[in-house]
């Protein structure tokens, strides 16, 4: 018995080679997870895509613990395993990137190496936004204006909310390019949107187009800051009992909504609370 153990001498070097391989697989898998989480999807989807990629690259199985701000994952192959943690910052919503990464995880080319997948992920990361920034600005403006109409406002509220939201979104694009924390970003953007909206309503009033429903305009001008996506993903996480992820998403939503309210109140200080 002892002799057979000694004859399997080269095994340690195999083991080391396998471990390096697992580490490589892990880098790819974690990158997939980070990209998907930053694009704003449900934790379970992230886990699923990571598992598909890991198995596609030759691992036996992968256990991933995905939360909103970090991923812990262990990849297993026969008796080897490798564990790594990664922090996730820069949450947002990017459906095009999400779709691309998920599609890649489902249609991984046969016999691909970790390096090849990394190159594909590089390509996905370099895909420019589907819509140019000014188009996004117009879309946000129109859509917040439309919300003013949906809530029961008229054309004055539509115009005020649209211009306010456009100004706010422009500010947000600028602040985001500075990589500012989302909280001050939201406060500043909602204050600016409300102030623009308020001054427009006042201007209309000056020219005789007064309105009784100005609050529909104010509220709609900040709607683009409402974190709708994390709210839905929080619900889906909680239903699957991804409790940590779901609760942290709820906390994220609440923080952003409070920042939004803080922005409105800050604007209220400048215009003497007449917006309320």
């Amino acid at each position: 018995m002892g002799a057979t153990e000694f004859t399997s001498e080269p095994q340690p070097s195999f083991a080391i080679a396998a471990e390096c391989d697992l580490a490589e697989i892990m880098q790819v898998v974690l990158r997939v997870g980070v990209l998907m989480l930053q694009a704003g999807t449900v934790s379970f989807r992230v886990e699923q895509a990571m598992q598909r990629i890991a198995v596609g690259l030759g691992a036996d199985r992968l256990d991933a613990y995905v939360t909103l701000t970090g991923i812990t994952a262990s990849v297993h192959r026969s008796r080897q395993h490798y564990t790594q943690i990664v922090r996730v910052v820069g949450l947002g919503v990017d459906m095009n990137r999400l779709a691309a990464v998920e599609f890649l995880s489902m249609h991984l080319p046969e016999n691909s190496t970790p390096h090849q997948v990394m190159v594909l992920l590089d390509k996905i990361e370099k895909i420019p936004p589907v819509y140019p920034l000014h188009l996004v600005l117009v879309a946000v403006a129109i859509s917040c204006g439309a919300f003013a109409l949906l809530q029961g406002g008229g054309w004055i509220e539509f115009a005020a909310a649209a211009v306010g939201a456009g100004g706010g979104q422009a500010t947000r694009i600028y602040l985001r390019s500075l990589k500012l924390n989302p909280i001050p970003t939201t406060v500043v953007c909602s204050a600016i949107a409300i102030l623009i909206c308020f001054s427009l309503v006042q201007t209309f009033d000056r020219f005789g187009y007064d309105t009784l429903n100005a609050q529909y305009g104010y509220l709609s001008s900040v709607l683009f800051l409402v974190p709708g996506a994390p709210l839905i993903t929080a619900a889906l996480d909680l239903i699957r009992f991804d409790l940590v992820s779901g609760l942290s998403r709820i906390a994220y939503v609440l923080i952003l909504i409070f920042s939004l309210a803080a922005g409105i109140l800050t604007a209220g200080v400048f215009v003497n609370f007449s917006i309320l």
């Binding site: 989807r45 999400l98 936004p129 589907v130 879309a139 919300f147 104010y218 619900a235 889906l236």
Partner: protein, 148 residues
């Protein structure tokens, strides 16, 4: 006549609102029309249920489930994440007015009305969450079964 103009204007407005947010979320171009259509469907369903006397929470729940269920079709067809259609579809139901009223009343120290609006907003948000959750349970086996 008034009915049809209301229907038409509500459809156009909710379509614009939904598609605008889909653009903000960087949705692929081929998904935009579906996002808009689902948004319109959910909004009209909710409005008509309310017209028939259904409570706000119930109507929102049914409409949100509808949005979640219908979203499975374009998701499968276009091979896009289902969540894209859920997120954009529920946007017209977001309780903007009650949430804004909470802020207004609380900053006026009118706690009673503030709480009332807050509960209203919470019920609506809860109905949306439960509706989307129900739809997901029904359309996705990974949610319906507990497995490892």
């Amino acid at each position: 006549m008034l009915f049809w103009t209301t229907l038409l204007s509500q459809s156009v407005i909710s379509f614009g609102a939904t598609v605008g947010f889909a653009v903000l979320y960087n949705a692929p171009r081929r998904a935009l029309i579906y996002c808009g259509a689902i948004g319109v469907g959910g909004h009209l369903l909710r409005l008509s249920l309310q017209q028939f006397g259904m409570a706000d929470g119930g109507a929102t729940f049914v409409a949100a489930s509808f949005v979640g269920l219908v979203g499975a079709y374009p998701a499968r067809r276009l091979q896009l994440p289902m969540i894209l259609f859920a997120i954009t579809g529920i946007l017209p139901m977001i309780p903007g007015i009650p949430a804004y009223k909470v802020l207004v009343y609380f900053s006026d120290r009118d706690l009673l009305n503030g709480m009332r609006s807050g509960v209203e907003a919470l019920f609506r948000v809860g109905a949306i969450a439960i509706g989307i959750g129900t739809a997901r349970l029904l359309t996705d086996a990974e949610w319906w079964f507990e497995r490892n």
